[in-house]
């Protein structure tokens, strides 16, 4: 069932087009890098604000509302381009250890974000102007930074282990 689905992805017209083109894969991969550096770079600014390391003179909500929309834009770009790269060789990627790890870590970062929304974000009015977020917010920030750096490393390792 899954095998058939992966095979169907690989033989789909966009997958064929990217595979047979001499430059499409390279261009899509380049935009994947632009998307992921936007995600990582902007989320780092928010995480450092939570930790009380930088942008501390601005309220957290101000920093977050300036930045998070760009994080999501970067994520949309990375997810779209990532899917296009995936379908060109779906069976191989889906068996790759670093690809699987990366997907698990992405899911964990979603969970981490939800935890933030149900904990520190609930009381944001009380600490918005403080130097740092309460311990729940700071923990989420550290976990987020570790997850995203690891995701970048896993992503780079996929390229070295699937050729």
């Amino acid at each position: 069932m899954i095998t058939a689905f992966l095979a169907w992805l690989e033989t789909s017209p966009p997958a064929e087009a990217i595979r047979t083109s001499g430059y499409l894969f390279a261009i899509i991969e380049s935009f994947h890098v632009i998307g992921l550096v936007m995600v990582f770079g902007t989320i780092t600014i928010v995480d450092l604000r939570l930790l009380g390391v930088a942008s501390t003179r601005r309220p957290f909500t101000r920093v977050a509302s300036d930045i998070l929309k760009w994080t999501w834009l970067g994520f949309a770009l990375a997810a779209t381009t990532g899917s296009l790269l995936f379908i060109t060789n779906a069976a191989v990627y889906s068996r790759n250890f670093y690809f699987r790890s990366k997907m698990v870590l992405l899911a964990l970062s979603a969970v981490n974000m939800l935890i933030f929304n149900f904990t520190a974000a609930r009381s944001v009015q009380r600490w918005d102007k403080d130097q740092a977020a309460p311990v729940a917010g700071r923990t989420v920030a550290v976990v987020s930074l570790v997850l995203w750096v690891t995701i970048i490393f896993c992503g780079r390792w996929i390229g070295f282990t699937t050729n």
Binding site: A26, S30, I34, L36, V37, M38, T44, W70, R156
Partner: protein
């Protein structure tokens, strides 16, 4: 350049990088993490100039917040980049993407430094006024696009054959 790449590939540092398969992907991963810091810093300064973010901060405050991580991350990319060149001299030094990337990098760094010092010099006169000028806005958008181009060209080093005859990387 071919001879230089040949010589470089025989140096002890290069040979050490070539012997350990994990070094190149590690350098590339750190390189990308640092690019994330650079691109988002450039992006936040650009959003401030365009009036799309940080409007409660002066332009100088915004440079104060994002300038230092930008410079630090730039140093990290230069260092990790230099080791990648030493590890794979022919792949980098004979590549068209690499030299185009270096040219854009020089242009982007120059623009950023000049603009930053202009803001600092004129802090009292047009630290705010500059934001309304369309030349400043278009230059800002151009700078972000140049940084995006630098990222694209960096990745294209791995696919230099797409440039056809402009690429001098030996095919293997």
């Amino acid at each position: 350049m071919t001879q230089f790449a040949q010589w470089l590939s025989q140096t002890p540092v290069s040979l050490a990088i070539q012997t350990h398969a994990w070094i190149i992907p590690t350098l590339q991963s750190i390189h990308i993490v640092a690019i994330g810091v650079i691109f988002s810093s450039v992006f936040m300064i650009a959003l401030r100039i365009l009036g799309l973010a940080g409007s409660d901060q002066t332009l100088l405050d915004t440079f104060g917040r994002f300038g230092p991580p930008l410079s630090a991350a730039l140093c990290i990319t230069v260092a990790t980049g230099a080791f990648q060149v030493m590890g794979e001299p022919a792949r980098e030094l004979l590549s068209f993407s690499f030299w185009l990337k270096m040219s854009l990098l020089a242009a982007a760094t120059f623009t950023t430094v000049v603009f930053h010092s202009a803001v600092r010099r004129n802090e009292h006169h047009w630290g705010e006024v500059v934001i309304g000028r369309w030349t400043a806005k278009s230059l800002t958008i151009l700078t972000v696009l140049v940084w995006a181009g630098i990222i694209i060209l960096g990745r294209l080093i791995a696919y230099d054959s797409i440039w056809g005859a402009w690429s001098r990387v030996p095919k293997d």
